[in-house]
Symmetry: C2
Subunit: 389 residues, 2 copies
């Protein structure tokens, strides 16, 4: 039918770091980019007005959640996810693989796909690579992810190999189905393609084993996708292991396509990912931690409920330009959090998203100016993963 | 010490309805005005940015809640409530009388005041008319309410008289304390007056008995306040009874001062209150119902969780100009509500507050144009208190 409207170009380089532009059916995304997570069709705690004000250029939706509620067919009848949720800019949808993996004993994975029980009502469902493609075509995201098999950490090399090889076979099936629905002049009356300009990304697996990662790249690229993601990292292994595997894997991927490091999103992970040639990131941390009273600053996270902030008139981060820091004190935010006010979650989330998106702006600018290594070293001088006191 | 900066002038009249301007220490309020309720220092579900965008010119804070958490002394040390919560415009604080009345068996009321146990931790507290004045002076609201005694509905005339007479005695004590702290050159080291321009309002009680209301007006005006509120209505009696008592009481109050109908805030109550010379209203309904999935429209409330909205692409109210109605469908709002997304509460609350504040704008304009009776009759032709299906 129609061709993917997907494209990517590198505007500047600084070491392995790239400043790029990703073209999607719903507009351009400046990279390196961070994608706020909108699991159920909303970025938790904020409105799209906030998300746009914060300069998020692309958001992520969860296939697993939207499939169960309100359902991809309902969203397709409403004209697709963009129209249904009222967000006109780019959307990436994951494939549901990671969510189903997280269901633990509520799912059985076979060669055919993943059979699972809904966390909502216990109903039984089957997600195959074909169905994952269908659902995302009905959602009409700009970037669909192919279904992959995730594994527990630590995994033996045999376990990692088996899942990687299955992920490659699933990639072939998912791609075939996706191509049939988007590129062949055949009617599929059971699937409403709401975004003919969708792109589909493959996912590199292989656990912590560089040789498996290499094989996964070769075989997934042989299937052929618009671009590629690195999956199965930041799932419990030490950061150095993550970084080494990204360092190993990223250069094996096409230089002229964006590279997406899935779910890896502590602020230092992002800076280190960019340094190794990653272009796209997502993470629930800024939204989830915001609701839990954790505010992320250049020094690291602070826990706003701490008694030391009870009468602190300073904003969460005196250097921050976000709405929350420009208007509210730590003392007030602590009060709102302890009082259980929804507004606490909103104000904290606005701050955390601003921190992430502002970091991405600084990263992009530094790459353009050739000062990324300076930014990187300054970032690590102040930032700590541990909560500050 | 300093004089109250409080003032009021009537700009136009249409029958008993008045279009006025209330001057406070933190700016002018166009009346008739609706005050969104910010119980614990936040308007639930939204940020002050929303509240300002929606054109709320004054908000209400709850003395009872703020006294318990974070405490009036802490707020005073932070420079007062405006600075602590980051809202620079006018604030009215209630006296806590109604909240303590609502504690039922957790409180004992004596001539001295109300002894109560905190709903947070069971700790024992005493609120006297003097203490209610002190707390509000520490909060530094622009309008403080005197402590009154609320009663259950229905109440006998004897019960209503006893509470009304005690409220008058408390009014005298509360006013005396307030005058001592604001107008006498004596140091009160235990109370930090954070807003020397505060005004204090008296409260008319007397249950459903017009003769008691008349006596309450006479005796409360004999104490003398900057302005007066009508309390103890819309607490379970039929609307016609409320309206008759407002009709009876409002004209007895000074024509050159604003009149505040406390807690009476269904949309039709507001229109009928304005028709009887009321200038100020407050109600938790737009915020509380928003969080509960009730959206208020010109036809009446709609319950967004209703299955009939599952695929409804229309906004909650096609005639409404709010952010929610300009961007989102009933189908999406239903999905967010059923999915338990915080954003549902935010979007619904924005709509409901817009409905209230837009109604107030229309009311003010109609009074200026002499078309208030037309607005009133058109309002009642379409609006129903019952949930629409």
């Amino acid at each position: 039918m129609s061709q993917s409207e997907f494209g990517f170009r590198v505007l500047a380089r600084d070491g392995a770091a790239r400043r790029g532009e990703m073209l999607t059916a719903h507009g351009v995304v400046e990279t390196p980019a961070f994608m706020p997570v909108g699991t159920q069709g909303a970025i938790k705690g904020v409105t799209y007005r906030d998300v746009e004000d914060l300069d998020a250029q692309i958001i992520l939706g969860n296939t697993y959640h939207l499939f169960l509620r309100p359902g991809d067919a309902l969203i397709a009848r409403a004209g697709g996810l963009h129209r249904f949720i009222g967000w006109p800019k780019p959307i990436l949808t994951d494939s549901g693989g990671y969510q189903i993996f997280s269901l633990a004993e509520r799912r059985v994975i076979t060669e055919n796909g993943a059979e699972f029980r809904s966390h909502l009502d216990g109903s039984l469902h089957l997600l195959t690579p074909e169905r994952a493609a269908d659902i995302q075509l009905q959602l009409g995201s700009d970037i669909a992810m192919v279904l992959d098999e995730c594994i527990a950490t630590p995994a033996t090399e045999d376990q990692a190999r088996a899942a990687m090889e299955r992920s490659v076979r699933w990639a072939g099936r998912g791609r075939q189905r996706w191509l049939a629905l988007t590129h062949e002049p055949v009617d599929h009356p059971d699937v409403l393609v709401t975004n003919p300009g969708q792109a589909q990304f493959g996912i590199i697996q292989g656990g912590v084993y560089p040789n498996l990662r290499t094989e996964s790249v070769q075989q997934t690229m042989a299937v052929g996708f618009e671009a590629y993601a690195i999956g199965g990292l930041s799932v419990g292994e030490p950061p150095e292991v993550t970084y080494d595997l990204v360092q190993h894997t990223a250069p094996l991927l096409p230089d002229d396509r964006p590279r997406y490091l899935m779910g890896s999103g502590l602020p230092d992970d992002i800076v280190e990912g960019v340094a190794r040639g990653i272009d796209l990131f997502d993470c629930v941390l800024p939204t989830r931690n915001g609701r839990n009273g954790q505010l992320i600053t250049k020094r690291g996270p602070i826990s706003i409920k701490n008694a030391r902030y009870a009468e602190d008139p300073a904003p969460p981060d005196p250097e921050c330009g976000c709405y929350t820091c420009r208007h509210f004190s730590r003392a007030y935010l602590r009060h709102l959090y302890l009082a259980g006010e929804m507004t606490a979650g909103t104000l904290n989330t606005i701050h955390n998203l601003y921190f992430y998106l502002d970091t991405m702006r600084a990263v992009r600018k530094a790459i353009m100016l050739g000062t990324f290594e300076k930014l990187r070293s300054e970032f690590h001088q102040t930032f700590s993963r541990r909560t500050q006191h």
